[in-house]
């Protein structure tokens, strides 16, 4: 009853091809956007720096990985390295006075180029073998960054390392993006654009080709899909998203380009995020990021709170242990209850309310 298509008739191609075909879906998305716009007026520094901005920036990276792995089926263990390439490229460009938006886009393009190169093996191998090939990116790129960056950046924090760079403060059309409030809105705007692009992309010829390749590449080839072309495209676009998110992470979240942040751990986390969120689902990328990035923080805070409420002075070591156990258990329970991820869970909720309160 609440969420149903009955009575919604599409009489023109335009409405039929709309992103959200049901009025309720449109309203809820509009409502969500309103919430996203209103939240910062009430948010404290903590919410901005620890919850909102990391969520926005990491989600862009997750979206990219979901396009690459969830839609096109190209497993990548080198996503964090592509994020690093984007982050560093944008930082360096900003130092050389390239405007902020151009630096972000060029950072994304650089990451896309690098992703394309590391995607070449995908023409020959797939699955676990491809994962191993992309793992190379995770080892080669940080090494290369730590060698190249000191050469192109005249500054650099450690005299020796030289690969830790504080970016100048970005400004958008003459307006300095300084406060957390502004950082949030710029990240939000970029995330919305990237999301809409991704939602549209997956229903075009490209997206359908990706799904065909993921589901059965031989069959896709027989149908006339140029597999190599679309696989490389998946790497390029996925890495572009990674690069943009890297630029935003460096500018708005960390405030510093430090190659140590973009490690294998982050790659694995992002991969976990799309699996838990839902492979091949845009909204799943959002759920997955929240689960991987935010849930541990919620667990930590709530366990500390529960411990104090019960009157114990609980050591952070015990809390850390419980946090890991609960988080691990949640991952296992979730994947047993719903192997298709949180996105499928959300779909189930919607399906339930489609008929509610009459289950027929």
């Amino acid at each position: 009853m609440i969420y149903r298509e009955t009575g919604v008739h599409h009489t023109t191609y335009r409405t039929d091809m709309a992103l959200f075909r049901v009025p309720l879906a449109r309203w809820s998305v509009a409502g969500l956007l309103v919430v996203a716009v209103v939240i910062p007026f009430f948010a404290t520094d903590y919410w901005f720096s620890a919850i909102l901005i990391p969520f926005l920036t990491f989600t862009i990276a997750t979206l990219g990985l979901n396009l690459m792995t969830g839609y096109a089926g190209q497993v990548s263990l080198g996503h964090a390295a592509f994020i690093a390439v984007g982050g560093y490229t944008a930082t360096i460009l900003l130092i050389y006075d390239i405007p902020f938006l151009a630096a972000v886009v060029l950072g994304g393009l650089m990451a896309a180029l690098v992703g394309l190169v590391f995607g070449i093996p995908s023409a020959r191998i797939k699955g676990l073998y491809l994962a191993m090939a992309t793992l190379a990116a995770q080892f080669v790129l940080p090494w290369a960054i730590s060698r190249v960056v000191p050469l192109v950046v005249p500054t650099g924090l450690a005299v020796a390392g030289g690969d830790t760079v504080y970016p100048p403060r970005p400004n958008l059309f003459g307006l300095e993006i300084d406060s957390l409030f502004e950082r949030y809105f710029v990240s939000l705007a970029i995330l919305v654009v990237m999301t809409v692009f991704a939602m549209n992309l997956v229903r075009t010829r490209v997206g359908r080709a990706w799904v065909a390749i993921r589901d059965h590449d031989v069959a896709a080839k027989i149908l006339g899909v140029n597999i190599t072309h679309y696989k490389l495209l998946a790497f390029a676009i996925g890495s572009f998203y990674a690069g943009v998110s890297g630029a935003l992470m460096v500018f708005f979240y960390y405030g510093v380009a430090h190659v140590g942040e973009f490690n294998l751990d982050l790659s694995l986390k992002l991969l976990g995020a799309i699996i838990i969120g839902g492979l091949g689902s845009i909204i799943g990328s959002f759920f997955g990021t929240a689960f991987i990035i935010l849930l541990p923080i919620f667990l930590n805070i709530s366990l500390t709170f529960l411990g104090n409420a019960a009157g114990f002075q609980v050591s952070s070591g015990i809390i850390a242990g419980i946090e890991n156990i609960v988080f691990g258990a949640l991952v296992v329970v979730l994947l047993i209850v719903e192997p298709l991820g949180l996105a499928k869970f959300w779909q189930n909720v919607k399906d339930y309310f489609r008929l509610w309160p009459f289950s027929y």
Partner: protein, 455 residues
């Protein structure tokens, strides 16, 4: 069944969200704080004027570096309890908010923000290079002391460039300079023709002292041999073959961290490199690394220290009698007195000393800016008077508004089979070369971040 599991999960999430909301609700925003302060000051109350002074602390007892993070965190928490048993800072208890981060920078940033949200944070201990980088610009804005003892940003030794960053311990450059000085003494005053190898993780931390050695090597006449190990350093056999078969360096300086250190100890034992020719930096090899490898086979291995290890100090004895004998200790008793444990004690102790000095001048309430003022007045004498016993652990620290390093004295400590014992007095060396590097790095930081210096 399915519905039950789901509802349980949902219930848990609800509780979590509610808890977070509760946890966040009383946190005043900085503007509220600023507005509320004068009123609180004006009304004289018998209660402590401030609920507590918060020291944010990104602890890690889990994750890839949990083994090394645990003794440090226990030391900091135990010292907090001891300070509060003795009446805190002028009657106000200190609150070391040890938040588990697993050595991840995003969690470290979250810990900083969570401590900041209390509105009472005066200092933050990042205990990770990445977190130090990320919170330093924030600290400029929030005027909160960031204490990174012998890690993080070495350029922060320049107190004029970094008003809120304190090392209160020697930089990596001071450390390696002191090592070279000590080796020179062992070799009878001359390093001509000697081979000194540097075994380092090939990340910024590992490479940091190479410029110093490139200056010192031609001057003193030793041959510098570089042995980079790719992060995370769990595969080192090729490097060790070079060390043992080809180069045979007279001395080896280690710049490793975490699991790469036991690996290196194992490799050194395998190729038969003499343990007593290994001198590590502050973070490798520490006692937990040696214990993770083999305490007997590691006899003779050395590293440098800015805090004396051991339990023969009144402050450590007090922790043992007041806390551990009553079952209130934060961790295992046998870790008390390890160098990492004592560093945790020292971290909290020096902050308390800074707070007490500031308290005499300003009175309650204290903030980060006043604490920084107090820390800049830490000398061996004031530390003895206000440091609640940590002066015994690091008797040579002298901070000033120009010098946030404390003159860079270190001790060489040696593993005797059961513990690390100091074998030298407090030493330092080649201050000119070190100071030049600090100046250069600080200048670069200043050029890179002009917006931090706009008033």
């Amino acid at each position: 069944m399915r519905a039950k599991v789901l509802s349980l999960v949902l219930l848990f999430l609800l509780v979590a969200v509610a808890a977070c909301a509760r946890g966040q609700a009383p946190a005043p925003t900085p503007t509220q704080m600023a507005a509320g302060e004068p009123a609180e000051e004006a009304s004289p109350t018998p209660k402590p004027p401030v609920e507590s002074y918060v020291i944010g602390f990104s602890a890690y007892r889990t994750g890839p570096f949990g083994r090394t993070g645990t003794p440090f965190a226990n030391g900091a928490v135990d010292m907090e309890k001891l300070v509060n048993l003795k009446g805190g800072v002028g009657g106000v208890p200190i609150d070391v908010m040890d938040i588990e981060t697993g050595y991840e920078t995003p969690r470290g940033v979250e810990a900083y923000e969570r401590a900041k949200a209390t509105g009472r944070m005066v200092a933050f201990i990042p205990l990770s290079t990445g977190t130090t980088y990320a919170v330093t610009p924030k600290a400029f804005e929030d005027k909160v002391v960031v204490l990174h003892t012998a890690y993080g940003i070495s350029a922060a030794a320049d107190g004029e460039t970094f008003p809120y960053n304190f090392l209160a311990a020697p930089t990596y450059w001071s450390g390696d300079a002191a090592i070279i000085k000590w080796i020179q003494e062992q070799e009878g005053g001359s390093l001509k023709g000697k081979k000194i190898g540097i075994l380092y993780l090939d990340i910024d931390y590992g490479r940091e002292t190479l410029p110093l050695h490139e200056v010192l090597a031609p001057k003193l006449g030793y041959e510098l041999l570089k042995y980079p190990i790719p992060w995370p350093g769990l595969e080192q056999s090729a490097v060790w073959t070079n060390i043992a078969e080809r180069d045979k360096p007279d001395w080896l300086i280690w710049r490793l961290w975490g699991d790469s250190t036991p690996t290196a100890l194992r490799e050194a034992a395998r190729v038969g490199y003499p343990m007593d020719r290994i001198v590590g930096t502050y973070w490798s090899p520490v006692a937990v690394d040696v214990l993770a490898f083999n305490p007997e086979k590691s006899v003779g291995v050395k590293h440098i220290e800015f805090v004396t290890p051991g339990t023969d100090f009144p402050v450590i004895q007090e922790i043992l009698t007041e806390l551990y004998d009553k079952g209130q200790g934060a961790g295992a008793r046998d870790q008390v007195g390890m160098e990492l444990y004592n560093r945790g004690v020292y971290n909290v102790g020096i902050l308390v000393a800074g707070m007490q000095i500031a308290l005499e001048e300003f009175g309650h309430p204290l903030d980060g800016e006043k604490l920084a003022w107090g820390l800049e007045r830490v000398t061996p004498e004031t530390l003895k008077k206000y440091g609640m016993g940590v002066a015994d652990l690091a008797p040579e620290v002298t901070l000033s508004d120009k010098d946030h390093e404390g003159r860079g004295f270190v001790q060489v400590v040696e593993w005797d089979g059961t513990q690390f014992k100091p074998i030298t007095d407090w030493i330092s060396g080649f201050r000119e070369e070190v100071d030049a590097l600090v100046k250069q790095a600080a200048q670069k930081f200043k050029e890179e971040n002009p917006e931090l210096y706009q008033e």
